[in-house]
Symmetry: C2
Subunit: 275 residues, 2 copies
DNA sequence: CGCTGCGTTGACGGCTATCAAAGAACGTGG
DNA sequence: CCACGTTCTTTGATAGCCGTCAACGCAGCG
């Protein structure tokens, strides 16, 4: 390796598990130093609120470990999860004073936080950073609209199947899913049944019944409540009602690449892409 | 008026009905000239496809008049409208080769189009333009997630009421809604029942029944199939199940301003803001 | 004048929410 | 180590919202 670049003291970020996948990994060296300077690590226990709905949201950041949920709660208590945030995803809302959605810890989480004002300052002075954020937000928008399709015109069975396939496609990403060598493909749910229901626009009871029906059909097998073995991937794909998954049924390595330039951060997890 | 600025020949854009509300109205003079240079007007009849799903989408632009719908069609024919685009809204997808959603004319439309490559070139060389686009996309993302809440956990009655209130709040905007002086407040539907159903995640029959039930309850009155008089705005707001509309029931002028910096283009219409 | 598209109304059935309760897993305290 | 409360998941019974199928009135149009 050619190390003619001046080597500074290793920053705290060099050990960060998501460094290479997050926005930090895209930044050039001076920007990395600046990001490192203004960042601070915080942890939250499952169930804690990171940013309240309508709160003046002073921080943004990356998920280092664990899962965040973005949730809107209606006056009568009904809830909808509008996004799950996994390691390397960004949370928070830049350029607005409140977030419209609460950000809560769905599991115990470790977060790398920036003061929003300081981060926006960096954005304003760093063309590439802002451009990459724009690309991420555009992908997020596509993903949100895709989820509107799921909520608006798919059955619960289709939603559950779609959710499982998306998790499965995140193989070699955040450990949501894993393929043991030559073993059966498994999907590890990162969240509870309740969160799954709130994300898929249904109830825990219906989620449970739907999963059990998939078991009875021999499509999946329950290893433990949070781990499923996919017995018939093609049948699962057929259940999802999504033609676009057809191409992915056999080998994960056959998947096409994401459509936009690779190697930038993504703000929310389930964008349906296989980065 | 002080006219010390050199006055060039009036460009075709000076007569544009949406000039002051679109991205063009934000641009500085040289950028306006450049936008004008690369723009061209196209028209489509109701039902025509502007950009097909998954097509290599070579153009972006603004709606000048009429309404566009962004729609996803599933393999079995089910459809979901993921966004309506009204005059001054932008359509198309920058920085990606295909659009994932079709863009269709919901009515006869006039569009101001840019070659996507040329527009992206401008974006890359104009900091402010890209920043404004980022702000717009962020608002779009909020709006899309808000629509996920509507589709995921609201009844059809609530969805219809919400839709009508949002249209009503666009008073003094695209003429979707109008308040005749001292007369009853009216909402003019810009789209057909079918599109309304496809946007709200339900069917024409259910839309029709829901509207009729609102009439029987004395909340609205049907002037003609595309025009409603709002008889009891407070009851309509209560029906929407949305606490956030409570503040707006009496006088439209009491409404708070949009949360982010004003005066930038918005890419899709129903962002729930009252610009 | 028939055709077509749009909006409405009726009958019916199914998917899914709701209410209720039991089993399983887990941590806590005795 | 065990009792116990809490949370999570599952299962059952029931009801209701809403999708589906069908038909009708109406307006626009060739």
């Amino acid at each position: 390796m050619n190390l003619r670049i001046p080597v500074s003291a290793p920053s705290k970020c060099d050990l960060c598990a998501i460094h290479h996948r997050s926005i930090c990994g895209i930044a050039d060296t001076p920007l990395q130093a600046e990001l490192s300077r203004i960042s601070h690590i915080r942890t939250f226990s499952a169930g804690e609120t990171v940013l309240a709905e309508s709160e003046s949201a002073g921080i943004v950041g990356n998920v280092v470990s664990g899962v965040l949920r973005m949730v809107k709660t209606m006056a009568d208590g009904r809830q909808q999860i509008v996004g799950l945030l996994l390691p390397s995803d960004m949370f928070g809302r830049v350029f607005a004073d409140d977030s419209r959605f609460a950000v809560e810890a769905a599991t115990d989480v470790t977060l790398c936080c920036f003061e929003r004002a300081a981060f926006e300052h960096l954005l304003r002075h760093n063309r590439d950073l802002e451009h990459n954020i724009l690309l991420s937000v555009l992908d997020e928008l596509d993903a949100a609209r895709d989820w509107m399709v799921l909520l608006g015109c798919q059955t619960v069975l289709e939603r559950v199947a779609t959710f499982m396939i998306i998790l499965h496609r995140r193989v070699d990403n955040q450990g949501c899913s894993r393929v043991t060598d030559r073993g059966p493909p498994c999907v590890a749910l990162p969240i509870s049944r309740r969160d799954m229901a709130t994300y898929l626009g249904t109830t825990v009871e219906t989620i449970s019944r739907t999963i059990q029906s998939m078991v009875r059909k021999g499509v999946i097998r329950i290893v433990d409540p949070r781990t499923f073995e996919i017995v018939k991937l093609d049948a699962l794909i057929a259940m999802s009602g999504r033609e676009e998954f057809r191409d992915y049924d056999s080998d994960p390595r056959d998947r096409p690449q994401p459509r936009s330039e690779a190697g930038r951060p993504h703000l929310s997890v389930l964008t349906g892409k296989s980065r």
